[in-house]
Amino acid sequence: MTATLPTATAPGPGTGPGTETPAVPARPTEAGGLGRRPAAPVRPLVRFRSSRPDLLLCGALLLVILAVQGWNITNFPTLSDDEGTYLAQAWAVQQGAGLAHYTYWYDHPPLGWIQVAALTYLPSLLVPEWMTVAPMRFSMLAVSAASSVLLYVLARRLWLPRWAAGLAMALFGLSPLSVVLQREIFLDNLAVMWMLLAFCLAASPRRHLWHHFASGLAAATAVLTKETMLVVLPALLVTMWRHSHRDTRKFAVTGAVTACALIGLSYPLYALLNGELLPGSGHVSLIDAITYQMGREGSGFILTPGSGSNGVFRSWLYYDTVLPLGGLAGAVLLIVTVRWSVTARALAGPALAAVILAVVAMRPSGYLPAMYVIQALPFFALVLAGGAASVTHAVLRRHRAAGRRGPGLWVRRAVLGVLAVSAAVYVLPRWYEGNRTALTVDANAPYRQAAAWLGREVADPAGTRVLLDDALWLDAVHHGFKPGPGAIWFYKADLDPAVTRTLPGGWRDIDYVVSSPTVRRDAADLPTVKAALEHSTVVAVFGSGEDRIEIRRTDTGRTDPESGS
């Protein structure tokens, strides 16, 4: 790991002008300048847009990634309540109905689903019925594509050789864990895209002041998309510091920090302008929301068997162990060897990001969301690819006199071949299995059937009130249920005073409950939902076992001859 990458030379002077020819000659003097320029940076510079091999490799990988992530995207993985929530909020933005389909209470900064709204705007205009979770997953393909390309560019800007950049992109886009998570409409995927953009700009080969400034803007956008990105900012700063020039660094870095802070402050500013910054009676507030999020009950230590965090952790490892565990191990190794290894210094930023995210996930008192790992995936991929490049270099070049050939070289190549083959033998079958599931299994038939049932069997949707989770909420709205008080996101029946007011009779004011796994899991803490489940009978069941979806009619005594199973 402490080897020197052939292309990962330290930035700036120091590696000796004789050992490498600068890839980019000093540019001609601009008009008005007097001509003295610093020596061209002694490092290869990637002109991505004009490098045909790079474009070809990146383009080919992109097609594969899009094919694997896009195929069967609507059927796997299972639609989640969170996806439904973000999309419903995006729908509310599109409708001009505010920032959420219920009262926006500063649970997250709204920029994430505003972007989802923009992404899905055109398709929803063309075919309004598509504005439901499954079809709109296709919009996430665009995000995946952007992130993958940015990751490739970043790898090249961090001086990884071409094949290693391709490896990073493949690891990032094709790990079964990535395939599953990047298909879903999660804000984390958008935030990752912005953060990768920020890293790319921070590692700008031109070391341009306004590239670094833009990096700050992109980073702020990432944080406003998903606030947990905040913890990655130090790693971004490290990257920018290493990639800026001594003479202009103070302007570049200060500019980036200022840009990031000013854009970040627009969120509290928004709350302030709405009179919702500070807590008060009768309105939501940013401070309240932060207090809630910080005080959210922890899901236990990630390594304690049986804790919620451990369950989430195991669900990640179920899909893939190579990327998360290998990536984390590689990141720790890079951080430890940063004094000796050129690769470690080149990848210090991404490695630090991976380590910080891991440390934050290890908080015993913290709450660990299922999509948390998404933010770490690109950094894991970069670190793994960098490690592979480093090992390759060590095997091929270490202690070898320049230009000498002979039997030693063949031994080295053989060793490298064995290493590569054994890595492939270990990884490929597992990934094949994981991705085969993602490409073939239909996990969402019960949801589709339940949605169809609501549209088909309920005679007067406009006058019917149904509790359901957000994965189905937009389907219900498209079938004519009134958004808000008619199609009720089940949490709101108990938690949103504006909704509770419309249910003076409690469960008696509700006609149907669509009982999905999420509803059954969380009903314990929601009295109205719980009562509705208890005072209702199943009229239709889709699927079986834990994942079944039941449609239950409440026992209000009202007879509704037209609806029935």
Binding site: G32, L34, R36, H245, F251
Partner: protein, 442 residues
């Protein structure tokens, strides 16, 4: 409701216009630090050792007997071999003339004295008086209180030959940032202007030149008819006229080779100096030489640069009003957010000024203390008020003076009153030095 809509649209339009203005200004102000390569290209190239061009250095001096001798001595220390110093004195100024004659007697091969017999005196008249007697290939202009680096001529010589330039503008830097809150900002204006923005102007082919440490090929200068005697910003005007006909201007800035000056001795003299520059800018704008510039972008840069003092004055007033309207009137939140855009650019500018002050201290080996940063930030709005005042004064004077322009070239009034007000020996580098046409930023 309709009223609110109009208010919202109006505020949004104003805010966006201000935002773009501030953003462009900031973009240009930070020109030199764009990339390490840009920064390196703003410096003088190392001279190749031998000076080949002959210099005629013009040194107009008026009631400046206290500092003139030192300035001449310093110029005589120059490492260059081929130059003459032409001191221009007024026929009504025997004290300064005596100092100049003494120096000429000591160094007859180097120093000559030219007497300006104009009834009303100003700097362009003095310079034009001396122009016919220049023997060198290059005419250089300095002010009587300038501290000129001995290596400067060798560097300028090399710059002329290496780049084929018609004009070379060296750096001028106010140094006494610790004197007062406004001198701090004044120094920083010079720093951003000469260190950074002038290079952009040179690159774009439209440049308002500075008043000293400026070097022009003698034949180019004679061809252009010398300086405009009726313009309050004759140096800016010269730059605009030369660059408008495609002459090549090169700017170079080295912190150890700049001409050092001091800020005006009082806020009032700073205000007067700024008024004169602004009025000069207006005159240059109205002379319309810049219209000959070939590129549309160049013409817009010219328009914008010459009008900057006035737009700045306007924005200094509009930004707070706009902000107050957004906060206190019930406009939609989206509109309110837009009104913050100019504030955001202003804040970014502030931050870059703080970093600039730090860099300034580093470049000149000066100790910048925490209190100076505080002064920089707190002084910002007040300096803005001063700039706005100077801009308004300039417009008012220009309007009032328009009729009598042909009758009495009233320029002299300013040029004589201003130095008289503020040119005691203790503050030699006063308003009499029309150093640069500074268009500052908030």
């Amino acid at each position: 409701m309709g009223g609110l809509l109009y208010t919202s649209v109006f505020i949004a339009v104003i805010s966006l216009a201000l935002f773009w203005m501030a953003a462009f200004t900031l973009w240009w102000q930070m020109h030199a630090w764009r990339t390490p390569e840009t920064l390196a290209s703003t410096r003088f190239d190392r001279p190749d050792g031998e000076g080949r061009l002959a210099f005629s250095l013009l040194l107009p001096a008026r009631h400046e007997q206290a500092v003139l001798e030192h300035t001449i001595d310093r110029l005589l220390e120059s490492s260059h071999t081929d130059y003459e110093i032409i001191v221009i004195v007024g026929h009504d100024d025997p004290e300064t003339t005596a100092v100049a004659e003494r120096a000429a007697a000591r160094e007859p091969a180097r120093v000559r004295v030219v007497v300006d017999h104009h009834e009303t005196k100003n700097k362009p008249k003095a310079l034009n008086t001396a122009l016919p007697s220049c023997r060198g290939d290059i005419v250089g202009v300095f002010d009587a209180e300038d501290q000129v680096h001995p290596e400067l001529l060798a560097h300028v010589d090399h710059a002329f030959r290496a780049t084929g330039a018609d004009v070379v503008q060296g750096g001028v830097q106010l140094i006494n940032f610790h004197s007062s809150w406004y001198s701090l900002r004044n120094c920083l204006e010079y720093f951003f202007w000469f260190r950074s923005r002038l290079h952009l102007h040179a690159e774009k082919g439209f440049i308002p030149l500075g008043g000293n440490t400026v070097f022009v090929r003698t034949e180019v200068l004679r061809e252009a008819g010398g300086w405009d005697q009726n313009c309050l910003a004759e140096d800016c005007d010269l730059g605009v006229r030369l660059s408008s006909v495609g002459k090549k201007v090169v700017v170079a800035y080295d912190s150890d080779m700049v001409t050092r000056e001091e800020t005006p001795g009082s806020l009032v003299s700073l205000l007067k100096q700024r008024t004169r520059w602004n009025q000069g800018f207006l005159q240059v704008y109205r002379k319309k030489d810049w219209r000959q510039l070939p590129g549309r972008g160049q013409r817009w840069l010219a328009r914008y640069t010459l009008m900057t003092p006035f737009m700045q004055a306007a924005s200094g007033v509009i930004i707070p009003v706009n902000f107050a309207v957004a906060v206190f009137l019930e406009v939609p939140v989206g509109i309110a957010i837009i009104t913050f855009l100019p504030m955001i650019t202003a804040m970014v500018t502030f931050v870059f000024e703080i970093v600039g002050l730090h860099d300034f201290g580093r470049q000149y080996g000066l100790r910048v203390r925490f209190v100076h940063y505080v002064k920089l930030v707190l002084g910002g709005p007040f300096y803005q008020v001063m700039l706005a005042g100077a801009a308004i004064r300039a417009v008012w004077r220009e309007q009032r003076g328009r009729n009598e322009w042909e009758l009495t070239s009233h320029t002299g009034a300013h040029l004589t009153t201003v130095p008289a007000a503020s040119a005691p020996a203790s503050a030699p580098a006063s308003a009499s030095s029309a150093a640069i046409r500074e268009d500052s930023r908030p």
